[in-house]
Amino acid sequence: MSHLSRREYLKRLAALAGLGSAAPFALNLAGLGAASAQSAPDYRAIVCLFMFGGNDHNNMIIPYDQAAYDAYAAARSGNRTAGGIAYDRSQLTATKFSPATAQSSSAEFAFCPPMAPLQALFTAGKLAILPNIGPLIAPTNRTSYLANSVALPPKLFSHNDQQAVWQSYAAEGGKAGWGGRMGDLLASSNSSTVFTAISASSNAVFLAGQNIFQYQIGTNGATPVTAVNSSPFGLSGAAGTAARTALSQLVTDSVAAGTLYMESDHADLVKRSIDASGTVSSALATVPTSTAGISLPTALANNSLALQLQVVARLIASRSSLGAKRQVFFVSIGGFDTHDNEITTLEDNANTGALGLHSQVARSMDYFYSAMGSLGLQNNVTLFTASDFGRTLTSNGDGSDHGWGAHHFVLGGAVKGGDMYGTMPAVRLHTTANPNLADAGSGRFIPTTSVDSLAVTLGRWFGVSSADFSLIAPNIANFNNDLGFLA
């Protein structure tokens, strides 16, 4: 089941329709041959960069107008000088900007200083900002939230669940994510479906499809099973052959399949691993890590996120050998649950020079965009950021707590950068005297843009037809289906 040819894949889809499955998704897939799955003429890839733990977006894109800045600082128990967690305004002067489309909440904003590399990409028109985006079922504000008069995503504010909701619209245990669903719809563009959805991080429900499997790869490439090709324990001749044969039978053949679901599922995974490792290894061998444009800058040489993006870049460079025209990738970085030590976690250490998380993200994205440029593919690859949730605007002393909506980025040559797409809420707390309909309490912002809108905007560019939008964004009927950041 691992190496599906295009023909086999379409056959399987047809068979699925015959099953008359109750799942609307499966049924709808039957029509995809006519909709999304036309042969793609060019290469396109989407990369999800996930910040595990809940990124504090409030200290990432910051209001700069004096009045708006003052409200931000007040809500965060003051600036550094005052012992709060807000940036000092003077720290932001070098990275301030005005979005091309004016926002009502503030005319000027600033990137946090560690993200200066992203400001350069923003100015160059390659990076766009999606303010206050997050999971929603239908448009929601403070009034409808508190009155409980609108359907809400499940298990708000819970890490594991909101990670899953962002990726799959379902809480923990969700079975298919919107990256995987896009892969389902477009995998027939690829000569092998195996390399359609690839995680350089851990298992990500974002990449789980209904038909395709996510393929997980280490930052050094594929890991082959040694004893399949090379006889173990010093055995040689017939004994060596017998040992290798037995191992192959046990881990991949019907011998392995067993009678229990878990035995069979595990055996399938081992088989996928062994089947793909040879192809991946030979493909990546042609793009060593030292390749000009692909090699990592010194400051990122041992950085986990950058290493993940590097193997993604190498896979993209090898797209022909992998037979891929449409790919979805997942990379991640952890440590964002900044209930405490927020400043030292997110920002660089002035004494040691150690990079904080925001620098790591910005520099890795900068590296990746430039690596795509070196392949001449900057217009073919679009990266977006995501996270469990945003964080409270209020300070708990040296950090912030679980929120909901958050600001995020999209990056790529196809992105109409230099602008914000969506509505930046007033960055201040709700009070009776001065209401803020985006504040669910403690400055947990209720999203003003839904994840559905992001999925469809990316999906349209990727080749998903409008008939299939609801498959990658179940609530899209309630929201804008084109945020406009892709041409």
Partner: protein, 601 residues
Amino acid sequence: MVRFYKWWGVVTVLLLSACGGGGGGGGGGSSSTTTTTTVSGCTFTATAEVDASDNNTHPTDAEAARFLQQASFGPSRASIDALKKGSALTWITRQFEQPRASHLSCVDQEAARLASIGTATIDQSHFLQSWWGQALTGRDQLRQRVAFALSQILVVSFNGDLGSDIRGVSYYYDLLEKNAFGNYRDLLEDVTLSPAMGVYLSHLRNRKEDTASGRTPDENYAREIMQLFSIGLYQLNNDGSLKLSGGKPIDTYSNSDISGLAKVFTGYSYGGADTADARFWGNVKDANYNVMPMQGYPQFHSISAKQFLGVTIPAQSAATAASMASDLKTALDTIFNHANVGPFIGKQLIQRLVKSNPSAAYVDRVATAFNTGVTALAPGLGTGKRGDMRATIAAILLDPEARPATLTAGEGKIVEPVIRLANWARAFNVVSNSGAYKVGNTDSASGSLNQTPMRASSVFNFYRPGYVPSNSRVASNSLVAPEMQLASETSVAGYINVMQGIVQNGVGTSTAGVRDVQPNYSSEIALASDSAALLNRIDVLLTRGAMKALTRTSIKTAVDAVSIPTGSTSSASSAAAVALKQRVWLAVFLTMASPDYLVQK
């Protein structure tokens, strides 16, 4: 008057008091090998297994192995033989009596030893020595196994701010072991006040709200103690199923419950001689600050009204040590007495020890044992108090569903990688050349196990109890497979590769080219010329007597292909010795790569 249900010694009719504690006798002379534990400090040697002798029906090899896979770090020939003299009930009863060793004491001795020979300090590897030493050689196997399960429910991790806090994490693990056979309420309190948890979930130095600056209490611990350590997100029936209202699940708490509870967890910092600000901030620290409970600093504790889970602690005029203790008691009592705790924690303990998908009825029985503190499966073992761990553990391990006679396709659970290594080590009687079990970090997915004890990536553990591998048979049958979250194209290959090396060369830090932890295959080598006999033995030790015929044929064919040279010359006999070893390596390696082994059932 007394009838036993199956070999595990479960009574279906009330047992007379005399036998309840498994009062010895019988079983051929009662050679009760009451060897006192030789675990001292950080040098570990294997000890005699706990004798389970009794007059109950005795298990077969396979039955004993199947039980020991669930209740210990894996069967060995000796532990199977010890259990076969009696029953699971007696084994569990005796296990409850076993003394425990201290990880903190171990790492402290290592620290003292290192200090005496130079400037080296302890690091995570020293905790791991203690962990592996106890897991592989400790007589208190059940306590060890349950503590490991608890460490995956009430998670702290070296991965993060505790990376250098070797003493703090050792102390924390000792708390898990101390309470493993105690009461869950005590466990919750010990965990709440442990400095390691205070650091990990940031309620250490959490301050009361400040209206002037708008500062609010840190909500981290308030949220996770409810979501992960006690009640979960949705109201549950006693059988673990969701309570519904209008077809929808019912939240157990709202954000305002969290904000209210967060105030209770304000004002705590390291323990010590006084409660001055300087000690709260850590500018003054007791030498043992990280291995004693946190204490209250009333000046930092919220005095406003605290509402959570339907309880209100009224506003106070001032905080005192007594009011802080009272607030904490109210909070922990309220959480602990929530009807969700039994099914929520009970089901997860079943998943950690026995199977991924217990039936609702099984969860119900275990939750009832938790709620009532007794189980009819082991009368006399529980205290009759809610939260009794002994009754809960006995109810989990002695339930008919724990080891059903026939298997449905959804049965079983993936053996997690750390347990695989422990299974191998115990099955083949490993010895640590240094006595310190220097196994070390096993994090790497491509080159090791993709799992190291106490190094989960977050408070959400290595895997989630509700994890569903996408696009799988497990998924299409609406089941879960938590341990599959660690399985990827990379890690399954990494496991097979690393086991190939371990099976042949042992595991751990090398000294003069020899790995520290070495297997003893002498019993297997003695059988290796007869591949059927060899596989019979390995089948019991690794696949709990359930190796499928196809699997056996496949392995046997490979083993038989290794010919054993004959002849009396010394070169022929040494070649024969090599061949016998190769046969054993191959049989063990292939078995451990097979799904028969990887799924326990």
